[in-house]
Symmetry: C2
Subunit: 498 residues, 2 copies
């Protein structure tokens, strides 16, 4: 066994431990009896610690040996580069800091739950203050060139910088605003007919049929209910999704199922031969999100998808869809309306939610704003971008769980995901010009195979930008999203591009 | 932190890893998509290896340090004694042997499934031959005084010997035979009215209500369906059970649920303060089995239990139980009839199934019989003990999974469990003379509390015999079972003790 193979074996062992932790997390959300929480937290923490210990003390020396080998293959070189990048993050942050962050986020999470319940920011403020301080210390451990925020973004989106995001978001805000203004002035879309109770079982049966049809392999997954939909994989042959049902709105179950199935199809498409290595892992959070959004929005909210499933949906809505057309339904599921809550936002106004969070995080980490000033800043941005007054902090600055987890720098990957989705979809259509005809007949296999080959199978050997360039010939280009949005919402609202 | 505390901390860490393995096993039986099997096996094997490595290389030195401390407390001394006993087993068997056994049983299991399906012993024979050879080698590693079989029994039942079992079983066979002969000559019990289809959902709802009423804490457990009922705990605050439903026979679901809930109440009753230490573990397989059988047979097949739940069961059987009495039902669930299959056997003839397996294993391990001769030996014993002809090996020597797992020496714990159950129940009734009145009113809490205090909370600091003596004033005494059996089946069959 050569040096690289020894390293590979150790990485598989660590992946096995992480898989056990993932199963424990899935079980905790979906199956575990309430009274099991305390000891489960202990057991997860032990396995996390074990994996971390192996990363530092057992993988570290193996990595050094593997790196000292002369003339590695391209495959070995790319994997070593990525493992080495991860190792820097793991070793630069001292263990004491990790423990302190773990305690702080555990307390912050409880405080956030209470604060949101009571809509009282002051309950969360000292915890967020503490987390921001710890994250600032983390940026010092990690190092950065331009902006401390870059060190945090890098955890989720390797190589991405705040200045790049600003360069993307600033013109994008303008262009999205133009489209939204045209939408606002057009006759509004009626989606009131979708407000009809449908039994949870019928909804779930339909949702399962849809995701299976899209290509989510049920023999390598399962779907359950949970408070917040998520997907999680233990290896490419067991990737599970959850959904939630709102009895009066089928869209909740349907689009959360498709979204999570998009994530899950990515992980089912990872190369099992490279299990444990970067070559067998997902590329980045933005590329992961591109897969969920592509299936949810570009496919699932597309006219061809609606056309195919329309008769089944008519059967689900025996009253309200009887006299309606597939086009009515297509327009209804694409209704645009600014709202206060990010996770309920439509495909367009969603990006203002992300951008305002990015701007606030950037200001926070650069000490341009104090934690105590966040509610006012938040509300001002919501007014400016969405034209809405925030009635309470629960529907404002307290709505997201991310900061209580210590996740700062995560939000931008959501918008990047949509942009990558549009760009990938454009090239998928170039390779398969008849995709819409296929979708209309219920065949989604060509798209899935193309994504398997172009995105999923390539793993983490390239960052998002490199991967995007390999697949589409250029790095991220927001024009693809803008074009897609004008075309789709032009059709929905009967407006022509300005 | 003193030496014992350091040892304790390491044992908790190892318990956490074992808990992850247990969750992976539960998930595999109950939730996992079929396609996940291959990688799950890999991940379980990694975590097993990790725990084993820690036992030998990290726990070993800590145990030596803790043992060298002067004047340990009684609590420390008892725990150290038991850890040390385990350590001998773990260290005496070389790792290569463990790996070879693992491969052999993995292949044997597949062969057994096929052999049973085709009722063809020759498909299983070479695998069983291999397993017997490996087990014989294991007895040499482990050492023994009288009988190599003792070294194997000791894994499941610390301190038990084949000669002791023989001394128990030989007179027991006679005495059980006398009772069975009286039963055979009495008018037979009618249970045909229990053959009525009941929807699975109604059955499961009833089963859950029953086990909750008996004292299985649902906030620290859950019940699911699986091919073979089992119970499994990840720690005392999360102990799960499974059951199966036979639509035409409520007894299958009901008594498998109660049996598994009995196991689970034991594990829920372990002392969480001693998590990871012998003081926080179950005593032995026979004591574990005593808990499942006590609840299943001594309580669940008792007249008072039936009396309490009779009206609910009447509602489940609107047709067939309408004109029946609680006594009819009590007699029906205690019907005795020799059969070919151990797991379907009644409470009395069951023990002949166990004893014939014990005798065959003892002969095998002492090379008094060849593997190729097992079918004939099996069939002869079934004829002799149960008066039945075995029509095929699937319903004979191939019916149990145990040998394909390499579990030799396990079966006797089933009968010991029944004997301990009768003995424990006798003393529970002495402490609480009105138990039957309590059961009749649906109150099972006094019995559960007594078992919690007398058995569950004592952990593994004493072996079965020591524990039994502490609770009942004497070691295992089969008279309690014989008395219980004559009293109960005397009532069921209207016979007086000979």
């Amino acid at each position: 066994m050569n040096e690289f193979e020894q390293l590979n074996r150790k990485m598989k062992e660590i992946a096995d431990i992480h898989a056990a932790v993932s199963l424990m997390s899935w079980d905790q959300e979906v199956m575990m009896p309430q009274g099991g929480a305390r000891m489960r937290a202990r057991q997860i923490s032990t396995l996390h610690g074990l994996a971390h210990h192996k990363l530092i003390h057992e993988l570290g020396p193996l990595l050094e040996s593997a790196q000292s080998v002369d003339s590695p293959s391209d495959f070995e070189r790319l994997n070593l580069k990525e493992i080495s990048r991860g190792m820097k993050r793991w070793t630069r942050i001292p263990n004491d800091h990790v423990m302190e962050m773990s305690r702080a986020t555990s307390e912050a999470l409880q405080a956030w739950v209470q604060a949101r319940k009571e809509s009282d920011f002051s309950l969360f403020e000292p915890h967020l203050q503490k987390i921001v301080e710890l994250k600032l210390r983390e940026t010092e451990y990690l190092g950065f060139e331009e902006n401390p925020y870059d060190a945090l973004i890098d955890e989720y989106e390797p190589g991405m910088k705040a200045s790049t995001l600003e360069a993307i978001f600033t013109p994008f805000k303008e262009r999205l605003g133009t489209l939204l203004e045209a939408v606002r002035q057009a006759p509004q879309v009626d989606d009131s007919f979708l407000d009809q109770p449908i039994p949870a079982e019928s909804q779930l049966a339909f949702g399962k049929e849809v995701v299976a049809r899209l290509g989510y392999a049920m023999e390598h997954g399962r779907q359950d209910l949970s408070a917040h939909p998520f997907s999680i994989g233990f290896h490419p042959e067991d990737v599970r999704i959850t959904t939630m049902v709102r009895e009066n709105d089928l869209r909740e179950m349907l689009y959360s199922s498709i979204h999570e199935a998009g994530h899950a199809m990515y992980e089912q498409g990872l190369n099992l031969d490279h299990y444990g290595l970067p070559a067998g892992e997902y590329c980045s959070l933005s590329i992961h999100e591109s897969q969920s959004r592509l299936w949810e929005n570009n496919v699932g909210r597309g006219a061809a998808f609606i056309g195919h499933f329309f008769s089944q949906m008519q059967a689900l809505y025996p009253d309200n869809l009887a006299g309606r057309s597939a086009d009515d339904l297509f327009r209804a599921v694409n209704r645009v309306e600014p709202g206060l809550i990010r996770i309920s936002a439509d495909e367009l106004t969603y990006h203002f939610h992300v951008i305002l969070r990015f701007e606030i995080e950037n200001a926070l980490i650069n000490r341009e704003v104090k934690v105590s000033e966040l509610p006012d800043l938040w509300n001002a941005k919501v007014k400016s971008y969405l034209g809405l007054d925030v009635p309470d902090n629960a529907r404002g600055v307290l709505q997201d769980i991310h900061w209580s987890h210590g996740s700062i720098g995560y939000f931008p990957t959501y918008s990047l995901g949509s942009f990558y989705a549009a760009q990938l979809m454009h090239f998928a259509r170039q390779h398969h010009p008849d995709l819409d005809a296929q979708f209309l007949s219920g065949d989604f296999s060509a798209l899935k195979s193309w994504l398997n080959a172009q995105v999923h199978g390539r793993g983490r050997l390239y960052n998002s930008e490199e991967l995007c360039t390999m697949v589409t010939g250029e790095p991220l280009n927001v024009n693809y999203f803008i074009d897609y949005a004008w075309e789709k919402f032009g059709r929905v609202y009967g407006i022509a591009r300005a």
